[in-house]
């Protein structure tokens, strides 16, 4: 189980290999990587060009919230391991922002825990994105769809 909040890039392949190697009681590993897109909003045709984004966060609270999210996942599913890596600072299109992974004896638990981790992270972890576009900088608005995604997991 680990939480990492860092400016530096990470290597998704190395992280995945660590989850997939040397375990004989793990049936499945589910992993999600979030990347920076080069357009604003949901529609690549309609969205303005994004040249880069900067992720600000609240040091201390970020780690605290991510640890709470991970503990919640562990209490809900029988996990072998879990990992959350989240970057901050300036990121360009195509760069990795976040990685979440969960392993379990059973694939349903791995999938659900992984999706829970990213859904909750998106609505609870104190990160804010400002997008750098040809027309200037714009703070990204929270998405209703992310709130809905997180609400799926309310007990």
């Amino acid at each position: 189980m680990a939480i990492r909040v860092q400016r530096a890039d990470f290597d998704p392949g190395v992280e995945l290999d660590r989850f997939c190697t040397g375990k004989t009681n793990v049936g499945g590993v589910c992993l999600f990587v979030g990347l920076v897109r080069d357009y604003m909003g949901h529609d690549p045709q309609a969205g303005a060009e994004v040249r880069a984004m900067t992720l600000e966060h609240y040091p201390g609270m970020t780690e605290r919230q991510l640890e709470a999210i991970e503990a919640e996942a562990r209490s809900r599913w029988p996990l072998d391991d879990a990992l959350v890596i989240h970057r901050f600072g300036r990121l360009e299109p195509g760069e990795r922002i976040v990685l979440v992974a969960a392993s379990s004896a059973h694939r349903d638990a791995a999938f659900e825990a992984c999706r829970f981790l990213i859904d909750w992270l998106k609505t609870k972890a104190p990160f804010w994105k400002v997008e750098h576009t040809p027309d200037g900088d714009a703070w990204v608005d929270a998405k209703e769809s992310d709130d809905k995604a997180a609400e799926r997991w309310l007990k």
Partner: protein, 83 residues
């Protein structure tokens, strides 16, 4: 108490972090917000629409009714957009 601002609240107040000694009678987040709004036009602008402001007291989410006291760390920020 220490007050922190993030994202566009930091831009509007022009401040990332400030030490505040609020007047007597400030015992909740809501009362603190009313006090902070008087500090500068930037503060007033930051807190103009409270529905888009979130608060954390000592790094846990709170609301307008959450108690605050000397020594607390209170942070104001927009709804989060990580991931």
């Amino acid at each position: 108490m220490k007050v922190l601002y993030f994202a566009w609240l930091k831009a509007k107040t022009g401040i990332g972090e400030e030490e505040i000694a609020p007047p007597p009678g400030v015992a909740t987040v809501g009362q603190l917000v009313e006090h902070l709004k008087t500090r500068s036009p930037g503060h007033a602008a930051a807190f103009e629409t409270l529905s888009v402001v979130r608060v954390a007291v000592n790094q846990d989410y709170g609301g307008l009714d959450t108690p605050v006291k000397a020594g607390d760390e209170i942070a104001f920020f927009p709804p989060v957009t990580g991931g």
